[in-house]
Amino acid sequence: MQPLEAKIADPAKRSMLLTALYIAQEQYGYLTKEAIERVATRLGLPVADVYSMASFYSLYRLQPTGRYVLQVCEGLSCHLVGGADRLVDYLRKKLGIEVGETTPDGLFTLQTVQCLASCGTSPAMRVNDALYENMTAEKVDELLDTLRGYHV
């Protein structure tokens, strides 16, 4: 049997895998079975191999999410200044969902993440690709209103 490595003509080609998964995720909304199969075919890799990558890295989504993914940092520095759990609790009540869930209107998904390297400006959270720092309940309210405003 041919070794797996030999099937990949150019080792640099495999380096495109992380980027390819980002592109597929952008196109499909999340990494569906079809998305993973397409990436595998294009790069000449086994589907299981591509799936194992998608499940290893936390920024790849294997489940559908809302339009805005709210990721609250639960790191120590955020916790010490009244963020982390408190911010998560506030969002849970405000949105009526648990961590990992999406609001019925499909707008918001609530998640917790590890350190966002914003320890000096904590509490911090990400909304899709944007970083929000020094968060308070008021700033969360304002942010959610703004985001909702785009979809009236």
Partner: protein, 422 residues
């Protein structure tokens, strides 16, 4: 007042732009190197400067450069580690967002010194602004002829591109970073061989932290002797300290290595917020053992912190006041390590998960006295038994917490709640 070196441009308008960088002496070190120095001379200068890695391990940079084979027939690579994720650390993000050209200049000089013609930036997927800043800065550097073929007519060529990670703390470990660059799961390799001999695609590879590379242009511009005059004999140069937690002014402070911890906390970070009492300090990021208020006069240098049983790590200082429950702190740190363990080595994968379960039980009043011993047993047995330093990193804070604050764990067992008011 210490003269800022690495952060000197941070407060300038559009500090991230190539124009600001050039107007403030940027890329002069590169021109000097290409015109006046041989690669060997550059390595000698960096060695003489005493520069040590700023990513956590503190390995001498010059020695790392000298390990790369000299044979021009062998292809070599340089990787810039921007996978900053150690809780408490936020210096590399600032360096990339506020002065990326300083790092690029360091990359080009390092690549020239080791004979690499291809370099990669590996950046955390979460750093969206950082990715944009890197790409823009690299484009501008190409446009001015600092990157690409025949740089400034010297005959030296270098290509630099950005590779975005996808959410994995472990990719900050250099062999995991290389695996990830190759398009694989970020699981550390067994060492030796070290990346300097077998790295990216099996070729010699130099991996450096952003802050380490940012120092390089200054060493060239102002000399190794000047650089070595800053700090202590074994920890030379400036360091960006990140201060977070219960202080009045959180943020980054660039100071010479060897500055006493007390000075950073009380002169620069403004002392304790709400004038509460200090309880404990994590000196170098989540994986470094804690210090107590009686140790505040310790100089913040590699050798002094090591002698005190802890580490300088990334220079990320997390300050905790008297209202902090240390069991909760340990639980939070373990949640991080359990989440970020890559799963490759059993002691780390199972150890972090087991310790987290025990800490959750203790924190929520379900803990038993033997759980404390069990915790200690798992943590001490994890150390030294993993491919990468993550096993030690996860065990260290727990062992130090148990040593310093065992009474709080016992209180949790006995009264099923925190010993502190909060």
């Amino acid at each position: 007042m210490f003269e800022k070196v690495l952060t000197r441009n941070f407060s300038l308008p559009r500090s991230e732009s190539i124009d600001t960088y050039l107007a403030n002496g940027g890329y002069q070190a590169l021109q000097k190197v290409l015109r006046e120095y041989t690669p060997e001379q550059v390595i000698e200068m960096v060695t003489a400067s005493g520069l040590r890695g700023r990513g956590g391990a503190g390995f001498p940079a010059g020695r790392k450069w000298a390990f790369i084979p000299k044979d021009p027939q062998i292809e070599k690579y340089v990787c810039v580690n921007t996978d900053e994720g150690e809780p408490g650390t936020f210096k590399d993000r600032e360096l990339v967002e506020k002065d990326p050209h300083q790092v690029i200049e360091g990359v080009i000089i390092a690549s020239y010194a080791v004979g690499a013609h291809r370099a990669f930036v590996y950046i955390r997927g979460e750093f969206f602004l950082g990715v944009k800043r890197w790409i823009k800065a690299i484009d501008d550097a190409y446009a001015k002829g600092f990157l690409g073929k025949n740089i400034l007519g010297s005959g030296f060529s270098l290509d630099l591109s950005v590779h975005r990670g996808a959410g994995a703390y472990i990719c900050g470990e250099e062999t995991a970073l290389i695996e990830s660059l190759e398009g694989k799961r970020g699981q550390p390799r067994k060492k030796p061989p070290y990346p300097a001999s077998v790295g990216l695609w099996g070729k010699p590879t130099l991996v450096h932290n952003v802050e380490t590379l940012a120092n390089v242009p200054h060493i060239i511009n102002r000399g190794a002797e000047w650089y070595a005059s800053i700090g202590t004999p074994k920890s030379t140069g400036p360091k960006i300290f990140c201060v977070s937690g219960h202080v009045k002014n959180r943020g980054i402070f660039e100071l010479p290595l060897g500055v006493p911890l007390r000075e950073i906390l009380y002169e620069y970070a403004g002392g304790m917020a709400f004038d509460k009492k200090l309880k404990a300090v994590i000196p170098g990021g989540a994986s470094t053992p804690m210090l107590t208020p009686d140790q505040l006069d310790i100089p913040m240098a590699f050798e002094t912190l090591e002698a005190a049983g802890t580490m300088l790590g990334t220079g990320a200082i997390i300050v905790m006041n008297e209202d902090t429950c240390m069991v909760d702190v340990a639980r939070r740190l373990m949640r991080f390590f359990a989440h970020e363990s890559c799963g490759h080595c059993t002691p780390c994968r199972t150890g972090t998960t087991r310790m987290l379960a025990l800490l959750e039980d203790l924190e929520h009043g379900r803990g038993k006295a033997e759980d404390i011993e069990r915790l200690e047993e798992i943590a001490s047995k994890m150390r030294g038994l993993t491919f990468c330093p993550m096993g030690d990193a996860a065990a260290n804070p727990i062992l130090s917490s148990l040593k310093l604050f065992r009474d709080e764990y016992e209180y949790h067992v006995k009264y099923k709640r925190c010993a502190v008011a909060a």
